[in-house]
Symmetry: C3
Subunit: 320 residues, 3 copies
C-alpha cells in the first residue's frame, strides 16, 4: 500500500478485518517491520484520538515517531508559483514537503477542510501536494474530505459486535452548534457501501453527501423509518456538502433537535448499538443516557483506532 | 502500587529510599519492565522539571512515552451531566478520559489548583476523574493539592545529605509576588511527618496548611525560633490554604520580606542546607548568595526528580 | 568533541567528510553508541529542518530524544544577579540550565540573535551559559552568530557535487523583506575558508561579515564579477552585521532586487549549482525557475542535515 486515503487502498475488507483482529490479539508481533523506520506525523489541526492512537500504533510496530505541530499562523506555506514572497508566508510547500519527506519513511498528515471553497477542499489540494512531492507513502489522519483511519476502526467495531451476518447500519445526521467538515461521514459511507452490511443514510434535505462516497447506499429522509430495525446507529453532524446547492457549502442548514439521538430513537432500532467517532457534544448529537448505556460503543470504537492505524502502517511498512 | 498521590501509596519509606539509592546506582537495570509499555503524560499546566525528569525516568525503564499538552483554552472538558454542550467545551471528560486510557498503560497527570474554589481543588475533582474513568494507574505530576514526586525527591536528597540519624527539617514560608498553590508544601509536610525527621513548619499566621497533611508536625510562628538548629531549610511560598478562614483561600496574606531566606537566616541554623523545589524567585524566596552557596541543594534535589519518578514508575509497572 | 559551535570543533575537514559519507551509506551502524543516552533539544525559536533532522540523526544513533519548546513569553529567564525577581521572569538561568543538564547526556540549543544588541549577540551570551552551567556537551542548532550543522551539511553537498578538485564557491547576499541574523553566512564563510575551495563573498557595501568568520575569503562587491565562473552559488540574505558601523547592526541596508538570483545570474557561472539553506522566499532571494531547475541543490542540502547532525552527535557520544 503506497498511500492510505480511500477504502480501495486497503484492498479486500475481509482480509483487512482478519488482519485487524490478528493484530489486536498481539499488537507487538510485528516489531521487526518498523525497526529503524520513522513515521513523521504532521498536524495542521488539533487532535486527541488520532495523535495518540497513531503514535501508539507506530510504536507497537517498533517505529520511531516524530510529531510536528504546524501552527498554521506561524508557518504559512506559499502554494502559488510566480509570486514574490514578501508577505507572511515564509516557505513554499515545494521546498517544505520534500524536505520533510527526506527525514522519514512514512508521512501522516492531518489537514481539515476550510469549508469556504468546495473545489479546493474536494480536490484535496493540501494532502495531494504531500503525495506528489514528499516521495513517501502518505497516510490520511483526516483530510479535507476523508478520515479513513476512523472508518476502518468503525468497521472493526461493527465486525466485533454484529449479531447477524449482514447487520443494518444507519448513518444519521444530528444537530451541532458549529459547521463541521464531511470527512467522517464521507469515509464512513465509503467504507460501509464497500462492506457486507445493509447501509442506510438519513439526514434533512440539503445534507446529501458527495455521490463519490455514497454509491450503493440507501438515502432515507425520514429518520424514524431509517432507524427502524437498525443494528448500529452511527450519529454524526456535518455541514452542507454543497452537492445540490454549491453556494451552501459548509453552511449549517438545520439545527432541528428532533434529530438528536435519545432513548426513544434507540427504541425504534433492533436493540441497536450507538456509535460516534468522538469528540461528541452531549445534548446535541446524543443524550447522556444513550451514550452512557451498555449499548454505546464509543469507547471500544476509539480504542480500535490503535488497531486500524497499526494495520495501515504495517501494510505501508511491508510495501516500502 | 495502583496510583501515586500520597505518601502511603509508596509504602514503608525506608524500603522506598533503599530502592531509590539502588536505582540511582544503575538507572538502566530495569529496562525489561517497561518494554512495550506506554506512559501517557498529560499536562494541563506548564512544566520544566516534571516534564523532563518523568520522561527520562520512563525511558530509563524502557517505556514508550507520549506527551500530550492540553491547552486548557482550546480543549475544554465538560464535567457536568445533563447539559446541552453548545458552548466552548467540545468534549466531555466521561469520553476523553477512557479514550486516553485505552492508548496507554500508565497515565501521569499535571493539573494545578485553580485557587478560586477550595472545595473543588481539595476534592481533587480533575485527577479523581482520571482515577475513576481511565482504567489505568494514575501518577500525580502535581495536582491541585499534592506534588508527591517532588516530596519523594526531597526525601531522597535529605537522606543523602543528613549528618545525624534524625535531622531537623524546617519548612518555611517565604514571600512571592503571585498566588501559588499549596501542593508542594502539602506533600512535603505529608512526607516529612511520615519520615524519620524532626519536622517543624513556620509561616505567618493565616497560612496554616490543611491538617490532613501536617498531623504530627510542630508549627512555630516565629521563623527565627523555628530555624534554630535546623539541618535542612526548605523554603517555599504558598497562598492562603483557607483552613481557618475559607474566604481567604488562594489569597496573598503577607509579603513580609523579613521571611526571605538570606545568609543571616542560615546562620541561625545548624550549618543547615538550603532546599527549594524550583523554579525559585531570587530576592523574594532566597538571596543570591544563599542559593549559590555550597550549602544549597536545589540542583541535586531537582536531579533526584528523575530517581523518584523512576522508583514510582517501576512500582507501577511491577503491579500491572 | 565536547561542544559544537565552530569549524575547528570538528577537526580536519577531510576526515569529517569521509565520516559523513560513511554514515550516509549506513546511518544505523552506530546504534550501540547512543544506547541509554539522551539528547535534550531546546528550542527558543521555531524550527522545521533543524528539529526534524537532528531528532532523526539522534534516533539513527539509538539515542533517546526529549524536545523542549521554550516559549520565550511564558518562561522568561532572569540573567542578572542581585535583582529581586518580582516581574515576569519566573526562573533564573543559573538554576534552569544545570537542571536541564541533569536529565540528559547531550544538550542541543537553538537561540537566535535578537539583532538589537550586537555585543550581547556576538558574545553568544545565551548559549555560553549552557556551556558554562549545563555540565553537558552543547550542540549549536543555530545560535546568535553560528549555524554549524547547516554549514557542515553544505560542505557535504558541495563535496558530493563538485566536478573539480577545488571548485569556486560564491556566497552572495540577496534581498529579503525582514531583518535576518548572520548565523548562516557566518558559519558558511567560516567553513568555506577552512575547506579546499576557492571562496568569494559578494554583497552590497555595509554588509561586511564579522572578520572572525571570513579570514582568507575574497570579498567582491560586484556580484557579476563574483559569480563569474562559479561552480556553486550560495544565496542568503542577512541584515547588517555592524562591523563598520555598529549603529547599523541588524538593519536592512538594501532591498536591491538586482541581487535576486535569476537565470541570467546563473548564466554568468560555470554551469553552477544553486544552494540555499531554506526556508527561502521565492521572488526575493531566487526565482522559481532557478530553484526548481536541475541545478538546484536545496533539497539534497536539507537532506544532508541529517548526516551532518549524525556525525556531530556520533563524535560527541564517542567523547562522553
Amino acid at each position: 500500500m503506497k498511500s492510505f486515503f480511500n477504502v480501495q487502498d486497503i484492498g479486500p475488507l475481509d482480509k483487512a478485518l482478519a488482519e485487524a483482529l490478528e493484530v489486536k490479539r498481539d499488537r507487538f508481533q510485528y516489531q521487526q517491520l518498523g525497526k529503524n523506520k520513522t513515521l513523521l506525523m504532521i498536524f495542521f489541526n488539533n487532535s486527541l484520538r488520532t495523535r495518540l492512537s497513531t503514535q501508539k500504533a507506530a510504536m507497537n510496530l517498533g517505529m520511531n515517531v516524530i510529531v510536528l505541530d504546524v501552527n498554521a499562523g506561524a508557518w504559512k506555506l506559499e502554494t502559488e508559483r510566480g509570486v514574490i514572497m514578501d508577505g507572511d508566508k515564509s516557505e513554499h510547500l515545494l521546498e517544505a514537503i520534500p524536505v520533510m519527506g527526506s527525514y522519514c519513511d512514512v508521512i501522516a498528515v492531518r489537514s481539515f477542510a476550510g469549508l469556504s471553497d468546495r473545489e479546493f477542499d474536494y480536490a484535496e489540494t493540501i494532502v495531494n501536494q504531500f503525495v506528489k512531492y514528499s516521495g513517501r507513502p502518505v497516510v490520511a489522519m483526516e483530510t479535507a474530505t476523508v478520515h479513513p483511519l476512523q472508518a476502518f476502526a468503525d468497521l472493526i467495531t461493527i465486525e466485533e459486535h454484529k449479531k447477524t451476518a449482514r447487520p443494518k447500519v444507519v448513518l444519521t445526521w444530528a444537530p451541532h452548534c458549529r459547521a463541521l467538515p464531511q470527512a467522517v461521514p464521507n469515509s464512513f459511507a465509503e467504507w460501509m457501501t464497500a462492506a457486507d452490511v445493509d447501509f442506510v443514510i438519513t439526514h434533512p434535505e440539503g445534507y446529501e453527501l458527495d455521490p463519490r462516497f455514497t454509491k450503493g447506499a440507501t438515502v432515507e429522509y425520514d429518520q424514524r423509518k431509517a432507524l427502524a430495525g437498525a443494528d448500529f446507529v452511527y450519529a454524526k453532524n456535518w455541514s452542507c456538502p454543497g452537492v445540490t446547492r454549491p453556494e451552501d457549502y459548509g453552511k449549517i442548514l438545520s439545527s432541528d433537535s428532533s434529530w438528536t439521538i435519545d432513548s426513544e430513537h434507540m427504541r425504534w432500532t433492533n436493540d441497536g448499538y450507538f456509535m460516534h467517532c468522538l469528540p461528541v457534544r452531549r445534548g446535541l448529537i446524543v443524550t447522556d443516557d444513550v451514550i452512557e448505556s451498555d449499548h454505546s460503543l464509543v469507547i471500544p470504537e476509539a480504542a480500535n483506532r490503535e488497531i486500524s492505524a497499526e494495520v495501515v502502517l504495517k501494510r505501508v511498512l511491508e510495501s516500502l
